[in-house]
């Protein structure tokens, strides 16, 4: 089971800035464990954000995105009280969606 994301969305003027922290191992597939065995890659591949149902960010990630990923973006529109939803899918097929309210 994955842990919730931390989503901070702040509206200022006509712009909303979103910062997201995701709880994920982002295992590169390059690392070896204590026994010398390669730890298989396990990482988020797709991540996207919607505001009132409209996609405001979508990205594809590789194994080089850091563990417990951080992403920041901003878009025009959005006001305090609006909902932002962020979803990800990893290469194990695990998915997660969390919501936050714009402040």
């Amino acid at each position: 089971m994955s842990d919730p994301m931390r989503i901070r969305a702040q509206a200022q003027g006509d712009k909303t800035t979103v910062r997201v922290l995701v709880s994920h191992e982002m295992e590169s597939g390059q690392r070896k464990d204590a026994a010398g065995k390669t730890v298989p890659a396990w990482f988020i591949q797709n991540i996207s954000a919607t505001w009132n149902g409209k996609t405001v960010m979508s990205a594809q990630w590789g194994t080089a995105v850091s563990k417990n990923p951080f992403v920041q973006f901003s878009f025009k529109g959005g006001k305090a009280g609006d909902k932002i939803a962020v979803s990800w899918t990893d290469n194990h097929g695990d998915k997660r969606t969390d919501e936050a309210v714009i402040s």
């Binding site: 842990d3 919730p4 931390r6 910062r19 922290l21 709880s23 191992e25 850091s66 563990k67 417990n68 951080f70 920041q72």
Partner: protein, 271 residues
């Protein structure tokens, strides 16, 4: 394309630069570069993920007794979390011991939730209930963010533990003859590029002691003070300090009292 930028004039300037006393010049730009690197990461500390998880764990009924930690007394009364972190370690009448945050959490997890404290103390960092403790200490320390350290010295055992902590801090041993003071006894020292806080007085003590628990970029984990001390002792080439053992608690008292007035930024972000 990029190379064409370096015309003869630019090259001459570069050569002139390298004629300067290089160690100083290189060191300054390195220090500035590292400061820039850290500043960029300041926003978006993954420790936040652990704070949120820790708060949920604090309130969740768990363990053999299926109870939450909401009645745990961290020194300011049962259930009081705010401000507890900056007054630990301290003496607890129920256990008749001076305890740091993690030692106290073991007591609460045993008494309230029915976990075995001895079992948790034996569990490797990052596994099992040690993982729960990572998140709990992130939450508890965050509840004292920006508050000043005020580790008590009113009880005789607290005074004794301070003096024992000082002895342990200066104890040189192992094949390398290292003590805590080898790295943390003077101002403005570095190991490689890592600044080493002088933990014997302010402001170093507050900066060092007050930054842990912290999210460690190098391992991608949240490190408690116990884990920090454990790895210090590993690099010091000492034998293994028991989890929440009296030597580590005494060091906590020594560093915590030396931090008086310093402000807690825990859980911080560290290399």
């Amino acid at each position: 394309m990029k190379l064409s930028l370096f015309g003869p004039a630019a090259l001459a300037a570069l050569v002139a630069l390298s004629a300067l006393p290089l160690p100083a010049a290189a060191q300054k730009s390195t220090a500035e570069g590292i400061a820039e690197y850290r500043a960029m990461l300041a926003d978006g500390n993954p420790a936040e993920l652990y704070e949120a998880k820790g708060e949920a764990l604090w309130k969740q009924a768990r363990g053999p007794k299926n109870a939450s930690l909401e009645k745990c007394d961290l020194g300011k009364g049962p259930g009081v979390v705010k401000g507890a972190f900056v007054e630990l370690p301290r003496f607890f009448a129920d256990t008749q011991r001076v305890q740091d945050l993690e030692s106290r959490l073991l007591t609460c997890m045993e008494q309230l939730q029915g976990f075995s404290a001895a079992e948790i103390a034996k569990t490797p960092f990052g596994a099992g209930e040690q993982k729960s403790i990572e998140s709990l200490v992130a939450y508890i320390s965050a509840e004292s963010r920006d508050m000043a350290f005020n580790v008590p010295q009113s009880h005789a055992k607290e005074k004794l533990m301070y003096e024992v902590g000082k002895k342990v801090f200066y104890l040189r041993g192992g094949p390398y003859d290292f003590s805590c003071a080898s790295c943390h006894g003077e101002d403005n020292k570095r190991v490689r590029l890592q600044d080493l806080p002088n933990l014997t007085k302010q402001p170093g003590a507050g900066n060092g002691f007050g930054a842990w628990p912290a999210y460690r970029v190098s391992s991608g984990d949240l490190w408690s003070m116990q884990r920090r001390l454990n790895d210090c002792y590993r690099q010091q080439r000492f034998p293994f300090p028991g989890y929440a053992s009296d030597a580590t608690i005494a060091l906590g008292v020594y560093m915590g009292v030396n931090s008086k007035g310093g402000v807690s930024i825990a859980p911080a972000l560290k290399r």
